[in-house]
Amino acid sequence: MTLPRSRWLDWLAPFAPLLIALAFTSALLLIAGAPPLATFQKLITGSLGTPGKQADTAVVWTSLVLCSAGLLATFTAGQWNIGIEGQIMMGAIFATGASRFFLDDTGTLVTATPEVMLVAVFSGGVLGGILWALFAAVLKVFGRVHEIFGGLGLNFVSTALSIYLLFGPWRQRTGGTLSGTVQFEPRTWLPTLEGMRVSPLAIVAALLVIGALYLSLHGTVWGLQLKAVGRNIRGAYTLGIRTHRMLFSAYAVCGACAGIAGAYLVAGVHHRLIPGISSGYGFLGILIVLLSGFRALWVIPIALFFSAVSIGSTALQLDLQLDSSVGGVLQAAVVLSVLLVQGFRERYLKREA
């Protein structure tokens, strides 16, 4: 028993992954001939340096928090809901579909008020997300298709569907040059702060969603049953829990959150449907939830780190001629080193025991 050594490890452990990730990324930057310190500095100023940058970071943060909140439900139920990307996409598609009841070919609002349209757009998003998530759940529960494969397949299907719609029935009649549907007219956009892309409403909604998930996972029978299903589905069944129903509800909750994110990307960010609108936020959400150790409140700062790195890395390209994928490298390095340190500690602690 080496007490001092294990204490030293305990103290270092929370910081070790970040240090490892920074060291690894620095080494890569040095090999690529870029100055690491300046790069990291640029990442920070590029994402948080000006109010405009902060707003851009907040936009990404909103989507990431929504997705992570949903993933907390599926992870609690022991499900790797890789299909979340597709669920965001279907949310966006259904949201756009809903908007088409109100807009004409030029994106002008012709029926109802902007508020009514926004409600319809978000309802559509929720519906699309839930349907697509339940699809994965049905494949899992009744078809015995592992959710990773089912979700991956459904992601491709949703992408294909969006491409079909964008180049088929929903293509722009006016011959616009940008890919995607015609842009919605500004009065139908989700209200934003003066001159910025960020919508306070969306930020509040994201906080409410993650707060709701936190409370229901910790304080309700539903949350506890979900946890039981995730940790030991056979034991949960023997105890009398309706395990299938619990799995479906977890997917539905995740689909709803992803659908809101999709609708937000349509109504609040791009104001139209574009190809690849889900932007990998679902996958990033998976990394965030893994990093948080499945703790809802930790999602908030971790999502902030991820969105800052994402936005900051676009500045690298402009100012340092570095590819923006440096940000992705840093994000991935953090996740890998967290898992590595966790695994190391488990192994180490086990041996000590």
Partner: protein, 488 residues
């Protein structure tokens, strides 16, 4: 090849699976290794075939000490193991499966291998087509394929783990003839089994293991009584349980058949009265669990009917059984009964029946959990995670989770792994339930337990009920014979 094992020890956590085992297996003989489940046979054979390394002790082949870390190394030293579930590759053609494992050389010489395969098959009168697919073979044929493969790879000693499970009578005759011929050729055959009849028929010598130790050796002519005693220890017959009047029919099975992926328990007809205790005896995996799960709705009957207090629940979902007051307590507490990572109080919340408010009142639940902990003498707190509890306390927790007004309680090995005091405590709590005329069905490997608490005993063997016994007309010795599949 002469194999000497000296003072072999192997521990898994607190379990001393092999506690100083010394055995010598002679070349040219068939050596039986007898013992009930958990006696340490499998661990010992896995050490001998390279799956595990012993914690201490020595293995010698023909007098030379050997050490190996993998099954492949063991095979290079000449030891091959035939597993109970043959470790083959069902989608492969026989010949491909046969060649597999000989991995020197880049190109496998199929033609040569095929010739040798056919030669081996002819020598042992195996009727195997090298072009056929493994998935089309019977278990007996897969054994033949595996024997041929191990011999071809140079095995001089063969370990067979429960080889007569799942094969037909003619295949068994063929297998025994093969083993005898191999022994005549000077091979060492180790025959692991719990079937007395098979061991007595085939083996030149028998070693019995119990609780990780050698409890005796025997040579023909065998005395079954003596082998039973070595397997189960000196058995003391205890007095019958306190009498409680029996009520009306509670569980009625009428020609019910239950099955899972590896066993079928056909045509069970059984009536259990309220307040009755039925003990299910037999070696593990003989069908007791199928009956327990079928009676509690965790398994649907393939045919026949299941009634609880007169209501036909044959096609009802598990929840209907729960509503009818049925509960199942599994042997494998951490994989089937409790949820690792959750605390005792969280389990209390999950185990509540009927309508509940959606939001958990943690204060009330903590109080309830603490009552249960006090009531059942659980050494733990409301906030203790169940995996941190000892086996006995996990079992007490499972009992504390059960509803107060159960009609039928099905328990699998209710006291396995518990110390004597805990076991007695568990039974005192179970017997209390008889006063509310709850019926109890329980499976146990402990003959004392079966004899002490049952009104009636069902003896299972290979998926069917070999015998139904009334306690008053049964002796423990008779039970021991029946468990080994021998009617006197």
């Amino acid at each position: 090849m002469r194999i000497e094992l000296t003072d072999i020890h192997k521990r898994f956590g607190p379990v001393h699976a092999n506690a100083g085992i010394s055995i010598t297996f002679q070349a040219g003989s068939i050596h039986g290794l007898l013992g009930e489940n958990g006696a340490g046979k499998s661990t010992l054979m896995k050490i001998l075939s390279g799956y595990y390394a012993p914690d201490s002790g020595e293995v010698r082949f023909d007098g030379r000490p050997v050490k190996f870390a993998t099954p492949a190394e063991a095979l290079r030293h000449g030891v091959g193991m035939l597993h109970q579930d043959p470790l083959d590759f069902p989608p492969f053609q026989l010949l491909d499966n046969f060649i597999l494992g000989r991995n020197h050389g880049i190109r496998q010489r199929r033609a040569e291998a095929q010739r040798e395969f056919v030669d081996l098959c002819r020598q042992f009168q195996f009727d195997l087509d090298p072009e056929a697919r493994v998935s089309d073979l019977t278990v007996g044929e897969r054994q033949q394929l595996e024997i041929a493969r191990l011999l071809w790879l140079g095995a001089r000693a063969l370990i067979l783990d429960e080889p007569t499970t799942g094969i037909s009578a003619p295949q068994k005759v063929r297998l025994f003839a093969t083993l005898k011929r191999l022994a005549e050729q000077g091979k060492t055959i180790i025959f692991v089994s719990h079937k007395l009849a098979d061991v007595e028929e085939l083996c030149h010598r028998v070693t019995v293991l119990a609780r990780g130790r050698v409890t005796g050796h025997a040579q023909p002519p065998y005395s079954s009584g003596q082998l039973v005693q070595m397997m189960f220890g000196q058995i003391i017959t205890a007095g019958a349980r306190p009498a409680v009047g029996l009520g009306g029919p509670l569980l009625e099975l009428d020609h019910a058949t239950f099955s899972d992926h590896n066993l079928r328990c056909a045509d069970l007809t059984l009536n259990v009265a309220a307040g009755e205790v039925i003990g299910l005896a037999g070696l593990e995996g003989s069908g007791q669990k199928l009956l327990l799960q079928g009676a509690t709705g965790l398994l649907r009957a393939n045919t026949g009917t299941v009634r609880i207090e007169g209501a036909d629940l044959t096609h009802a979902p598990y929840r209907r059984f729960l509503q009818a007051g049925v509960a199942y307590v599994p042997a494998d507490r951490m994989t089937e009964g409790l949820i690792p990572g959750l605390t005792i109080e969280e389990h209390m919340v999950l185990a509540r029946r009927g309508r509940q408010p959606a939001v958990i009142d943690w204060k009330a639940m903590r109080a309830q959990a603490e009552r249960g902990i006090g009531d059942f003498n659980i050494k733990g707190r409301a906030g203790t995670r169940v995996e941190e509890l000892s086996g006995g306390n996990q079992q007490r927790t499972l009992l504390a989770l059960l509803a107060a007004d159960l009609r039928l309680l099905a328990l699998e090995h209710p006291t396995r792994g518990l110390d004597v005091e805990s076991a007695l405590y568990i039974w005192s709590r179970l017997l209390e339930r008889l006063r509310q005329s709850t019926a109890i069905l329980f499976a146990s490997a402990d003959l004392d337990e079966i004899m002490q608490y049952s009104d009636r005993i069902l003896v299972f063997f290979g998926g069917h009920v070999l015998e139904t016994l009334r306690l008053s007309e049964t002796t423990t010795e008779q039970l021991g014979y029946l468990i080994g599949g021998k009617k006197q």
